[in-house]
Each structure stands twice: as structure tokens, then as C-alpha cells.
């Protein structure tokens, strides 16, 4: 994957695109977890959510580097 994408002739950092994708995936995971009450098994849901996001975004970033 290229490090910079040209969207309508504007150069966009690939990392930003991945960030948005990671947010979308997180939103999906969040909805699923909320739907099945999985957050009840976690001590600190927001922290857990943040950690999942870091994992997802970090894994995505491996595409770039």
C-alpha cells in the first residue's frame, strides 16, 4: 500500500486512511460487543475499547511499513 494516496488530486497520508478504517472497524466491534453485553466482562470498558483500537490501528499500520 502506498504511503500517500491521491484523493481527487489531494495527497492524503495513507496512515490517515487507515485511521479512518480502523475507526470504522472499531465502531463495528463496539456495536457487536454492546449488542451481546460483552462489556460486562471487562473492568474498564473505555480503556478496553481504546486498547482494541490501538491493536487494530497498529495491525493496519503494518500494511504501510
Amino acid at each position: 500500500m502506498p504511503r500517500e494516496l491521491a484523493l481527487g488530486d489531494a495527497l492524503v497520508p495513507g496512515l490517515l486512511v487507515l485511521f479512518v478504517l480502523a475507526l470504522l472497524l472499531l465502531w463495528l466491534l463496539d456495536a457487536i460487543a454492546g449488542r451481546f453485553g460483552l462489556y460486562r466482562l471487562v473492568w474498564h470498558p473505555p480503556l478496553f475499547r481504546l486498547a482494541v483500537f490501538v491493536c487494530v490501528f497498529g495491525a493496519f499500520a503494518l500494511f504501510l511499513f
Binding site: A31, A33, G34, R35, Y39, R40, P45, L47
Partner: protein, 708 residues
């Protein structure tokens, strides 16, 4: 005091201390969290080499709130507003790159339209509109001499704002979050306990009218508060999001049940006033099993489930008792009223059962998909008020813009930006003139503090760590004030003025002349916004708007009589509640305005619901062609009368309802329609209601004896 018993007073003292410490702790937690996000956003913005780190920092102050759900909700709408505003700015600059007059006109119009749109929404949705307006100004105005730079300006602005949002979202959500979900849960529980307790305690049947009015107000407030909370909590909590629809349903059922309950009590009160206690007492006796069913602790959640079988039994008992009790009455008029009351009671019991059912499954661990019908909470909006806001904001912008062009003032851009921001931010508050002045005072103090901080403290500091130490004490004072109810707006002005004028950047410039010029321009901009609120008073809170809202409230009866039926019950209830709570928020409790409003609200509620039920029954079974015209006629005259109340319309409506009742009596098997019509008729004839003003001086004596 010397004989104080230590075992008694020490715990009390300790409790007071603990309470105040807890309160203090939550204030300081807020301050610390805001400071963390403020400086983290600034540091990141500087690392990323963004041109204006102060925007990111200012964003963290603007979205700061004790509850993390509020922060996330506000952030969400701020993102939308910023994106929309930046897009609009690019469009405006691209359309008029070399025409400053047209450019200013287009920009003013856009800002005005956004300010107008903001008045159409409550809570944070209106904030998105405000932001879309002033972001366009922030992006477009600085590049007015350099149109090609607009894209970069937009990108930077968006990055700075999003960075600020991201940082404060993460900090407020992760560092000792204060959950709004708990507030929501508590509110829902309180609403449930209040209402069911009120129903249980009112078995004696007679609730004085003013107690009823007070209860009505409380129920309305409860319904609207719950809806407002719900719309913010869904950002904070994935589980609440899944349950959001269920909560809406809970609220709708609450509104429906409270309306029926009121109709029932008005009926009983009317009967008592007409000295027909026998019918009233029979109805109260019929209603007694319901109160017995509600004995025991009332608590929403799974505990409420035990009430359900009791309620079912109570309804069975009521159904069994009804013929027996009915047999004790002989007068045809008594029988008629008893039937009306019994059917109302039946409807109420049904709605109460649905409400308790919704309350019981509020917290069940797993939500069953598709089990909840989709419902929405409709708002009652006033488009003329929005038009005024649009006009005022556009005019302010145009005057400032013209002044800027004519005087060739180098700092004109600053003044214009500030005026935009404040005219938008406070257009939706009930008393914007006062609020803007208070914020302006705070802003001035904040700027003085900024001067001291920048030229006497920061000049001696080096590096980011020392900058934090130098800035934090000044900012903390403003943040603490933001948390004190009396000083909230002063503190907001302080924090914003301080952070704005400081405009921290990577290579800080120390230029007192520029600082003072900028400060003067900002004060003038703020002053212009404040003056604009005086010159064109905002519609919100004015007697004119109140009259319009009252007219809309009455128009709800026309809606009930004529709008398409599907979903009408929810629409009617939610718009009613929203309108009433809007007007209540803008009137003083106990004033003539507020009393008139509540009186109308009660009449509208009762008649509207009865009409909707009537129309449902008409739709469910075939109505003979010879009967339908009379029913339609009574619906039509009622709608017209409520839209434009006068004595002639009152007579028309009263007679039309009477004719309809008579003609229902002539048809076989249409008795189910009779109860609703009776209810409407009784409400029309109620001498204590607001309609009394339209009654003819010498009415038919029999009717008065019968119903007033």
C-alpha cells in the same frame, strides 16, 4: 454545645465533610482532566507542526464537561459541524475569489442560515449548526487576500479541531470517567417510581386540580429529560446504544399512560364537582384493585416484573367487578359516565401494563432483536423563530463586514470571527443578552490574565514542561469557575479568552502591540454580538414566541383530528411534551403565562388523545355511512375551535359533538365510539378548564348541572 453527644454528631460531621469533599473532588477531577487534554492536545499539535495549536487547545476547553458522554456527544457534533463548515468555506471562496463584497454577503448568509438552523434543535445538534457557521468564517476569513490558500486553511483547521476532539474524547473517557449512564438509569428509575407511586397513592380519587397540574408538569419534565439524556448517552456506552430504542419506547409508554391517568382523574373530579359522588365513588371503587396490585416496593428493572402478574389479576378483577358495580347505578346519565370512566380505566390499565413491562425489561442482560417497535421523539419546532435568528446573524455579519471594508481595519478579521462565534454560540440560550455580557466580562478578565501570563510569566519559561506550569494556574481558575453554577458563563469566557488570546504556537511571538490590537478587536467583535442580541431580540423567551408556541400546542388537537393515523399517537404525545417543556422552560413558575399554558396543555392532551382513540376505533370497524358525516363534522369543528378559539367556534364544536353522540345512539352496535365522544364532551363542558372563557353566559342548565 458542650453536652454534644459525640457518637451522634461525629458521623454527621463526617458525612457532611465526605459529601463536600466528594463534590470538590469531582470539580477538581474535571479541572485536572481538562488540563491534561488541553496540554496533551497542544503538545501533539506542536509535534505535528500544525500552524495553530491553540485551536486544538481551545477545542478541548469548548467540549469540556464533567460527563464523558456529554464530551463524546459534543465532539461528535463538533466534528460534523467542522467538516460541513470547512466544505462550505471552500465553496464560498471558490465562488467569489476576487469579489470581497459578494464573498462577505455569501459568508454572512451561510452563517445566518446555520444560526437559524441551530434554533430548530435542542441540545448538541444545534451546536453542530453553530459550528458549521463559524468554522466557515474561521477558514475563509484569514485567506481573504490569498484565495488559493483556502484548501490548506481548511485542512489545518479540520486537523486541529479533530486532534483536540480526539484527545479530549480519549482523556475524558479513559481517565476516571464519570458515567452518564448512571444518571440515565437513575432518572429512568425515578420517573418510574414517581409515576407508579403517584398512581398508587391517588386511589382516594380526588386529586385537587393544582396538584394535578404540578404532577403533569413533573411528568412532562421527566419525559423530556429522559429523552435528552438518552440522546447523549448513546455516544458513551455501546450497551445503551443497543437499548436506545427500548428506552424511547419506555418513554412513549410513560407519556401515553400519564395522559390517560390524567383524563381519568379529570373525569372523576368533574363528577365530584357536579355533586354526583355516587358515580365518582363507583369509579373509584372499580379502580381500587389497580392500587392494590401496585403495593410493595416500586423499582424499575427486573424487580418490576413481579408487578405484572398482579396487574393482570387486577384487570381481571376489574372486569369481573364492572357489571356488578354498574348494576348499583340506575340513572342513564350515571350509567353513561360510568361506561366512559370504565373504558378510560381499561385503557389506562392496559397502558400501565405496557409501561411496567417496558420498565421491567430495561435492564435485562440480553436485548432480543426486533422485539421493539421503532419509535421516535418528535419535536415541536418554530420556523419563524429560526428565520429571525438567521436575519439577526446575517445582519450583524454584514454590518461588521461593511465596517471592515470601509475602515480598512487590519484587525477586522479578528472582530468578525469573534462576533460570529458568539452570535452563534449563544443564539439558542434563553437569555442571550445577559449571557453574552457575562461571557464578555469573563473574556476580558481572561485576556488580562493572558497578558500577565504571556509577558510576565512565559517570557521567563523555556520548554513545554515549564509552559504547562506557567499556564495551568491561570487556566485552572477559569475551569473551576465553569463548574460553579453561578460563575459558569464567567468562567467559560475566562477560559476561552485566555486560551484564545494566548494563541500558543511552536515559535511563540511576544508582541505587546499586536496583542493589544487583537484584544481590542476581539472585544469589539464580542460587543457587536451582544448588541445584536439587544437590537433584534431573540425569539426564544419572548412573549411573541410563547403565543406562537401556545397556538401550536392548540393546533395539536387539529393534528389529532386530521393527520394520518399511523404513528400518530407517539407523534402527538412527543410533540406535545416537547412544546410544553419548551414553554415551561421559558416562563416563570406560577406566573399567569405559565398557568394559562398548563391549563391549555391539559385540555389539549385530554381532547387530543380522545380524538385519536376515536379515530382508531372508527378505522378498526366499519362505521355506517349515515353516521360518518356527523363524526367527521365534530372532528372538524373541534379542530377549528382549538386552532382559533372563540365563542362561536365553541358553540359549533359543542353542538357538533352533541349531535354526533345522539346519532351514535341511533345506530346499533356503535357504542364503542360513545365513550370517546363523551370524554370529549365532558372536557368541553368542564367549567374549571381553560375553555370556560368561551362558554356562553347562559348555557343549557341541564348540561351545567350534568358536567361542570
Amino acid at each position: 454545645m458542650s453536652t454534644m453527644d459525640p457518637t451522634n454528631t461525629v458521623p454527621a460531621f463526617r458525612q457532611v465533610l465526605a459529601e463536600s469533599l466528594r463534590e470538590e473532588a469531582s470539580v477538581w477531577l474535571f479541572v485536572v482532566k481538562t488540563l491534561i487534554s488541553f496540554f496533551a492536545a497542544g503538545w501533539l499539535a506542536m509535534r505535528f507542526d500544525l500552524p495553530a495549536p491553540s485551536t486544538a487547545m481551545l477545542t478541548t476547553i469548548i467540549v469540556a464537561n464533567r460527563q464523558s458522554g456529554m464530551v463524546l456527544a459534543k465532539s461528535f457534533y463538533r466534528t460534523i459541524g467542522t467538516l460541513a463548515g470547512a466544505t462550505a468555506a471552500i465553496g464560498i471562496v471558490a465562488s467569489f475569489p476576487q469579489q470581497r463584497d459578494l464573498f462577505l454577503v455569501a459568508l454572512s448568509l451561510w452563517i445566518g442560515i446555520c444560526a437559524g438552523g441551530a434554533t430548530l434543535y435542542r441540545n448538541f445538534k444545534s451546536y453542530a449548526f453553530v459550528l458549521a457557521g463559524y468554522t466557515a468564517a474561521i477558514v475563509a476569513v484569514p485567506v481573504i487576500d490569498n484565495p488559493p490558500g483556502v484548501f490548506d486553511s481548511a485542512v489545518f483547521r479540520i486537523s486541529e479541531v479533530l486532534l483536540g476532539i480526539l484527545v479530549s474524547g480519549v482523556v475524558s473517557d479513559v481517565v476516571f470517567p464519570s458515567r452518564m449512564r448512571d444518571v440515565l438509569r437513575r432518572t429512568a428509575r425515578e420517573q418510574f417510581a414517581h409515576f407508579v407511586g403517584f398512581v398508587r397513592d391517588s386511589t382516594e380519587g380526588a386529586i385537587p386540580r393544582d396538584a394535578m397540574e404540578k404532577a403533569h408538569l413533573r411528568f412532562v419534565r421527566a419525559a423530556v429529560t429522559l429523552e435528552d439524556l438518552r440522546s447523549s448517552v448513546i455516544f458513551e456506552d455501546a450497551e445503551a446504544r443497543v437499548r436506545s430504542n427500548h428506552l424511547r419506547l419506555f418513554n412513549q409508554r410513560f407519556m401515553a399512560a400519564s395522559t390517560s391517568f390524567q383524563s381519568l382523574h379529570h373525569l372523576i373530579n368533574r363528577l365530584k364537582r357536579a355533586k354526583r359522588t355516587r358515580t365518582a365513588d363507583t369509579l373509584v371503587r372499580l379502580y381500587a384493585p389497580l392500587a392494590d396490585a401496585l403495593q410493595g416496593p416500586i423499582e424499575a428493572g427486573l424487580a418490576a416484573r413481579v408487578l405484572l402478574p398482579h396487574l393482570v389479576t387486577a384487570r381481571e378483577t376489574m372486569r369481573r367487578n364492572a357489571p356488578e358495580l354498574r348494576a348499583t347505578l340506575d340513572d342513564p346519565q350515571d350509567l353513561r359516565d360510568f361506561d366512559t370512566g370504565a373504558s378510560l380505566l381499561n385503557r389506562f390499565a392496559e397502558e400501565l401494563h405496557a409501561y411496567i413491562d417496558a420498565a421491567a425489561s430495561l435492564q435485562s442482560p440480553r436485548v432480543v432483536a426486533g422485539s421493539v417497535e421503532r419509535v421516535s421523539f418528535d419535536r415541536g419546532n418554530d420556523f419563524l423563530g429560526a428565520g429571525i435568528a438567521t436575519f439577526r446573524t446575517t445582519l450583524t455579519m454584514l454590518i461588521l463586514g461593511a465596517f471592515w471594508i470601509e475602515s480598512a481595519w487590519p484587525m477586522g478579521a479578528s472582530a468578525m470571527l469573534l462576533a460570529t462565534i458568539f452570535a452563534g454560540l449563544f443564539a439558542t440560550t434563553p437569555n442571550p443578552t445577559r449571557v453574552t455580557w457575562v461571557v464578555m466580562l469573563g473574556y476580558l478578565t481572561g485576556m488580562v490574565m493572558g497578558f500577565i501570563c504571556l509577558f510576565f510569566v512565559l517570557t521567563k519559561m523555556d520548554g513545554y514542561g515549564l509552559l504547562v506550569l506557567g499556564v495551568a494556574p491561570f487556566l485552572a481558575v477559569g475551569l473551576v469557575m465553569m463548574m460553579t453554577p453561578k460563575l459558569a458563563f464567567y468562567g467559560l469566557g475566562w477560559a476561552m479568552g485566555f486560551a484564545y488570546i494566548l494563541s500558543l504556537k511552536n515559535v511563540q511571538t511576544y508582541d505587546p502591540a499586536h496583542f493589544i490590537n487583537d484584544a481590542i478587536a476581539q472585544v469589539i467583535g464580542l460587543g457587536a454580538a451582544a448588541v445584536s442580541f439587544v437590537v433584534i431580540p431573540p425569539a426564544i423567551g419572548s412573549a411573541w414566541l410563547r403565543r406562537r408556541q401556545l397556538a401550536r400546542l392548540r393546533g395539536q388537537v387539529a393534528l389529532a383530528a386530521e393527520a394520518p393515523l399511523p404513528g400518530l399517537r407517539h407523534r402527538f404525545e412527543s410533540v406535545n411534551h416537547d412544546l410544553v417543556s419548551q414553554v415551561v422552560a421559558q416562563t416563570e413558575p406560577g406566573s399567569a403565562d405559565s398557568r394559562a399554558l398548563i391549563a391549555w396543555a391539559l385540555a389539549v392532551h385530554e381532547t387530543g388523545r380522545a380524538l385519536i382513540e376515536l379515530r382508531h376505533d372508527m378505522g378498526r370497524r366499519d362505521v355506517p355511512a349515515t353516521l360518518r358525516p356527523y363524526l367527521d363534522e365534530s372532528l372538524r369543528t373541534l379542530a377549528r375551535f382549538y386552532e382559533k378559539p372563540d365563542a362561536a367556534g365553541y358553540l359549533l364544536a359543542r353542538d357538533a359533538v352533541a349531535t354526533a353522540i345522539a346519532s351514535v345512539g341511533e345506530h346499533e352496535g356503535q357504542n364503542h365510539l360513545l365513550e370517546h365522544l363523551h370524554l370529549v364532551r365532558l372536557a368541553l363542558l368542564d367549567g374549571e378548564s381553560v375553555l370556560a372563557a368561551y362558554m356562553p353566559q347562559a348555557p343549557l342548565t341541564k348540561d351545567i348541572a350534568h358536567a361542570s
